[in-house]
Symmetry: D2
Subunit: 242 residues, 4 copies
């Protein structure tokens, strides 16, 4: 039996407290919804953290013991303290997994790890989305099927300002005519990063089984295999000099 995986679900948690329509969909917050569907997996030990907690709920001890961090943010990316972003970034590079959801494409942590703009095309016009599995044998696609529809979603379209994904898992179709690389995986340092596009706050997308399945798969896929702190060693030669 291996030890359970420590998963921390982070949410900005502002929409839910200001907008009753959002609160109606996510009464315990988006973090509560995500933690809720992950919780039944006995191999996971799930906690949540939110922006307005001290240190955004991510003090050094929590980050240190987190194996996989799930991130949802939207209106308050700028309020996330740079020191916390740097702490999370370092931890990813040491081996922690990071799952970035939807509007988290513009979070400081995602932009810091990608190095690019992370900009995209968008429209809140109630488009229908169809998510296609491009890599059916990728662990994150397990059990997801060839494609699935999200009845109403914010449109995110190309070009998406990211480095070329190392593994492109999902590509989405929107009824207004756009496409989007909606499931993208990278290794960064010793950690794994997965970006997954579905999940606007005003739609019940995190209650949809296929979306839950992808997130649960991604958490498992991103589980660390090592913990290697950054170092820049200055060792003697391993071979006798020529």
């Amino acid at each position: 039996m291996s030890a359970p995986l420590n998963v921390t679900v982070w949410n900005e948690f502002r929409h839910e407290r200001k907008n009753p329509a959002v609160a109606a969909i996510y009464p315990t917050g988006i973090h509560g919804a995500i933690a809720g569907f992950l919780a039944p997996d006995a191999g996971l030990r799930v906690r949540t953290a939110t922006l307005d907690e001290p240190e955004h709920g991510l003090p050094a001890a929590v980050v240190a013991e987190t194996d996989v961090l799930v991130w949802w943010g939207h209106t308050a990316h700028a309020e996330v303290a740079d020191a916390v972003v740097e702490r999370v970034r370092r931890r990813v590079l040491e081996g922690m997994g990071l799952i970035v959801l939807h509007s988290g494409h513009y979070s400081k942590i995602f932009k810091a790890l990608m190095g690019t703009t992370c900009s995209l095309r968008w429209r809140e016009s109630g488009d229908r989305e169809r998510v296609w599995t491009v890599a059916p044998s990728h662990p994150i696609a397990r059990g997801v099927g060839e494609s699935f529809a999200i009845p109403v979603e914010e449109m995110y379209g190309e070009p998406f300002g990211i480095p070329e994904p190392e593994e492109l898992v999902f590509v989405s179709w929107f009824s207004g005519g756009e496409v989007f690389r909606s499931g993208c995986a990278w290794r960064r340092g010793h950690g794994r990063v997965f970006y997954f596009q579905p999940g606007h706050e005003t739609y019940p997308i995190y209650h949809q089984p296929e979306v839950q399945r992808v997130i649960a798969n991604a958490v498992r896929w991103a589980a660390p295999t090592v913990r290697i702190p950054d170092n820049c060693p200055n060792p003697p030669p391993p071979e006798p000099p020529v």
Copy 2:
């Protein structure tokens, strides 16, 4: 002034001779249409070759002096002689560029260079296609714009059985609900390979300016920088033994 680039446009040239509807769209053949829009570029020396010529129009001398080969085939992939396929493959690995169009995804040469099934989802239902530029700064996308529509096209959809593209340039949307990685680039040996999806024989797609622009850009992008025959050298050590 650099020497002109030798471009050979290869076409199966069967549909045009059997089906008057195809002949009406491409009276000089698909190869004729492609050679026709490339010809005005003074930097290119364009010739054509077709399946039913001796050695499919690709004898050793032609392949040896070709810098970039454009390939269109559909119903007669199996009739292309293995020896010619191997000759072309070797030449690509030495540095020749290869542009594979539409149903060429199932050509022997493309499958041999990719190593995978190259299978895809398809449907002849007159879908509307919208081609999105995912990599606006890629040389193949120069002047193409954010997206363009193809009014009627055969649907090609994911999953597409290819190795992860090294550079994903275009992704397409189809009105029936599918998406497709419609512009994909790889280096193979010392040559460059570009697959471009548009171009069914029963639609006038190679008369469309955006499609012509992409193919012309791809020919330039795939121009060889070297010619390095395969070798497996057995040299003495460059450094004094330890």
Copy 3:
């Protein structure tokens, strides 16, 4: 408890029967040595297959039930029947893992999956090799350490005629002055392919614990997650036409 993984270790098995020096190092053949160090893992069900058995020990039933195939060949690549190569290639594309060792770089199956020359620089001069872990968090590097030495090995050097590895795990140093990408990983279709350079027949390299560790890790890493036969579907549109 998950079902054990079916591992087939394939060996050309010619050197050992012709050359007493090789037989002294590998009395049960290279396949016997590899199967021997994998066997203690209760999660693996290991069998062997060799060139001179009927269908090279790889009839359809064996290939169908193999999860991971390990491949060692050298002098008789040309004797491997094309039909068997094609059978193995199809199975990899469906999801089977393939571990190609040392001189297997020139096997038909590796060349067919890569699409390139797979040529390299080489020298039998008793070089010392040092294998460096470039990706310490890759599952194949687990427990291997920063680097390890192979006291005497055939030199394999760059350029190596392969597609850019998707994950470069090891790079080797040779005392004569060369370097080599000695551990390279790719996904091909639904299968995973790993090439690992160490292992000349006249040196006891497969008795070295670090080499055994890498091969055992690679077998685990290459375990299939799916089995998806090739198909090229022609489905109706998933979305109502626009």
Copy 4:
């Protein structure tokens, strides 16, 4: 005739002013040496910039008109103002090329674009280095040959904390037993980034023809094809809603 390329060679320029031994090797500074060997190319318009100039010689107007920026820094990375780093980063993402040399691996700009630690193994022990061309057909390797030696160099060894290079062009061998991915290329946004390891300040490495050739090739390769400012558009649907 295309317009000349605007190249800015940036140097920290501290070692040369403090250490007479460095000044003896590079009397006009490392920037002066690099600008000097690039200058004869009539297609380049070369200027230099250094840390202690106002805004480090990189005011907005200079960055805006620079096509390719070459970067050398070592002891004073921390003194480079964050605002200037961000200005350069934005410009790279818009299309400017960036060539990062040697100890620049730890510069703020390289780390910001990579998102990773950029740490490595190192030793100042006068190792001999041999640089191997892994991708002989890459434009940056043009005319460089199979390998070349640098008689005395600081050792840089793996693991190198970078994202997987999109194109690995050079790998180096060091006499003490290490290897290093010494020439690595990435696209970031619309710009191209190349890291090249040779060039310690106390060795006359930038006077060596092969090294000059690589840097000149890299400048040409990194020339922008576009200039696309960051944007995150909110357009109407291109297709009529379903």
